[in-house]
Amino acid sequence: MSKNLQEYWRKNVTFMSFLLAIWAIVSYGCGILFVEPLNAIRIGGFPLGFWFAQQGSIYVFVCLIFIYYAYMQKLDREYDVHE
């Protein structure tokens, strides 16, 4: 693999890991591990931990995929590997 492509791949993997960290924090963190302390916080009628587990995490998942799409569109062009 050329040096340029190695750099492209490294940037891809770094950004992907960042998004997966968010993925893990909202679902396993907010939705499972810290659900009880977060439930003490309330947003309107929702205990926060419960909201993350049944609503929030799903919204975040959708956003993560579209963010990754946008980032990779840019990265593909920058390194001239787009279709």
């Binding site: 492509l5 891809n12 998004l19 009628g45 995490s57």
Partner: protein, 591 residues
């Protein structure tokens, strides 16, 4: 017009649409048959993936399950959506660039081994077959409840429809019918949800209504979730929004196994071979999850509304004054009431009212007209049996919605079951006709022969699925949940390593796959069929969550064996490099 007449119209109309779509998208070549010619636009693929993914279980059972489980039901919500992030970031773009037809195809080529291909093939067929039997049963049940035909006739009608459009149009036919089926099922899910949300929480958006205040009755002005917490605690259940008795590690493992399993399910993965480019694969994963999220964020709201409604309208009320939907569903045997203390009032409490599912004494009714159950009663003060599945199906009746809405829900349930069944059947047919017949048995098979084998395989698979739909073996319900564990412990690790680590070789992949599957399958079989008990669970992890451990074992074994054996050949290194960049994906050729 009666509910039955409306249902015939709705179901007839939607089936007519599916058949029409199948006819105009019939195919003549294998590329059309396996991957819809690779030209499906991202938005359409997103809708098709959503319909492919959301089965009868998502449509009918999930909200009911959450309704009874409360917070603990979150494992399904997060588990069955979070996998799409893994799919979009780790798998879909690369598999699309690779550009072949099936999952065993990737495994066989990347690991330059027909043994690896064969192991993957067996896994793909096993996972898909267990899954499809449940769908056929779902079709039969919806038919019997709403169209008043016997379950078996319902299964046969479903088989005929699926065989027609999957056999004729292959992936192309399936894709476009799934787009139509998504539209039907999401409409059918949202309309009753919106009405009920307006009725209970005073807002037309169920996702907001879940956190809203109760509009009428004794709890007016209080937050719905607070009311549910209080009701649940008063009746002896765990508070609705709080974690229950399951250990945190187990919840963690189950959620993870469901996520990874989702990402590893062959019928979901192959949908990403149908789009024209890598860019489209990334984008359509986003659309797919967006379309799924519309249903999955509505489901917990429906669950909470249904819970509130049920307790509010039934508990501590005299049986004689129970609403009409209660008695309608009692007739079907999905609700049963035993007046343990002979006060004529329905007491709903934690615990089972009697042992097992209700068995009624024929032709005998109690003093108030209730059906009499023959089951052995328990000591619990609970007098009420409610099947979880009725929560979604009874919703329109509970909210007094017009008959056409009830009919629409029936059509929606059928759309959910049929769309998933067709996707699964295609995996089975393409695995056998492409991976086994063409790649391993007859390399010289002509286009025409391969297409013919594909169609015959769909026919055979439909018959097997139909047979198990009519004569369901007792273990199907249990096995379906484990399809995820097996998908998680077999495909996911070796596909991810195949993309992200060029050093992973044939020996590693085969050992890893076998270690993952054997461990997971043995654990599940021991605890589900051979009488293993809860106190023997490894680290307190239930069989539902063991796929997570199986996956870790697969990762470790693959990695260790790969680093101890010879590096893969030069051309594999090149293959891995080439799938890492998008350019050239359109040029995928038949091989």
């Amino acid at each position: 017009m009666s509910i039955l007449a409306w249902t015939y119209i709705m179901v007839g109309l939607t089936f007519g649409i599916y058949i029409f779509i199948a006819w105009i998208s019939r195919v003549r070549d294998t590329k059309g048959f396996y991957v819809a010619g690779g030209g499906v636009p991202p938005l359409a693929n997103g809708m098709a993936t959503a319909a492919d993914w959301m089965s009868a279980a998502s449509f009918i059972s999930m909200a009911g399950l959450i309704s009874f489980l409360g917070y603990a039901g979150s494992i399904y919500l997060m588990g069955w959506t979070g996998g799409y992030v893994l799919l979009a970031l780790l798998l879909a773009p690369y598999l699309r660039k690779f550009g072949k037809y099936t999952v065993p195809d990737f495994v066989g080529d990347r690991y330059y081994s027909d043994t690896a291909r064969f192991v993957a093939l067996v896994c793909a067929i096993f996972v898909s077959l267990t899954y499809v039997c449940g769908q056929m049963r779902g079709v039969g049940i919806v038919f019997s409840r709403f169209l008043e035909v016997p379950v078996n006739t319902g299964v046969l009608i479903g088989m005929a429809i699926v065989f027609f459009y999957a056999g004729l149009g292959g992936m192309k036919g399936i894709t476009w019918t799934q787009v139509a089926q998504y539209t039907v099922l999401i409409t059918a899910y949202l309309i009753p949800a919106v009405f009920i949300s307006m009725k209970i929480a005073g807002t037309g958006i169920p996702q907001i209504g879940l956190g809203g205040t109760v509009q009428t009755g004794q709890y007016t002005g209080q937050y719905l979730l607070d009311v549910l917490d209080k009701l649940n605690t008063d009746l002896g259940f765990t508070a609705y929004t709080q974690p229950g008795a399951k250990s945190m590690l187990d919840v963690f493992c189950i959620t993870f196994a469901l996520m990874v399993g989702t990402a590893g399910l062959p019928h979901v993965i192959i949908r990403f071979y149908t789009v024209p480019s890598v860019r489209a694969a990334r984008l359509s994963a986003g659309y797919a999850l967006l379309f799924i999220a519309i249903l999955y964020t509505t489901a917990p709201a429906v669950a909470a509304f249904a819970r509130y409604n049920m307790i509010d309208t039934i508990n501590d009320k005299p049986y004689a004054e129970a609403p009409s939907w209660f008695k309608n569903w009692e007739k079907t045997g999905l609700i049963a009431w035993v007046d343990k203390n002979n006060d004529g009032i329905i007491q709903y409490r934690a615990g089972k009212p009697f042992v097992g599912k209700p068995k009624f004494v024929k032709g005998k009714t109690g003093p108030l007209g209730q059906k009499i159950v023959a089951n052995k009663l328990t000591n619990s003060p609970n007098e009420l049996y409610v099947d979880r599945d009725i929560m979604v199906l009874a919703n329109p009746e509970i909210a007094n919605l017009p008959n056409w809405v009830i009919a629409l829900v029936a059509a929606g349930g059928l759309a959910a079951a049929l769309s998933t069944a067709s996707g699964l059947l295609l995996v089975i047919a393409s695995s056998i006709s492409h991976d086994l017949y063409y790649r391993m048995i007859n390399r010289k098979a002509t286009e025409k022969q391969r297409l013919m084998v594909g169609r015959i395989m769909i026919g055979i698979a439909v018959c097997i699925a139909g047979y198990f739909g009519i004569n369901p073996p007792g273990f199907v319900a249990q096995v379906v949940a484990f399809a995820f564990g097996l998908a998680a412990s077999s495909f996911f690790p070796i596909i991810v390593l195949g993309i992200f680590s060029a050093r992973t070789n044939r020996e590693g992949a085969i050992c890893g796959m076998l270690a993952g599957i054997i461990f997971t399958a043995a654990y599940i079989i021991y605890f589900k069929f051979m009488g293993g008990t809860k106190d023997q669970w490894l680290f307190g992890i239930s069989p539902e969550g063991i796929g997570t451990i199986g996956m870790i074992i697969n990762f470790v074994v693959t990695y260790v064996v790969s680093s101890m054996t010879k590096a893969p050949p030069e051309e594999i290194q090149e293959l891995v490099n080439s799938i890492r960049t998008p350019r050239g994906a359109g040029a995928a050729v038949d091989h």
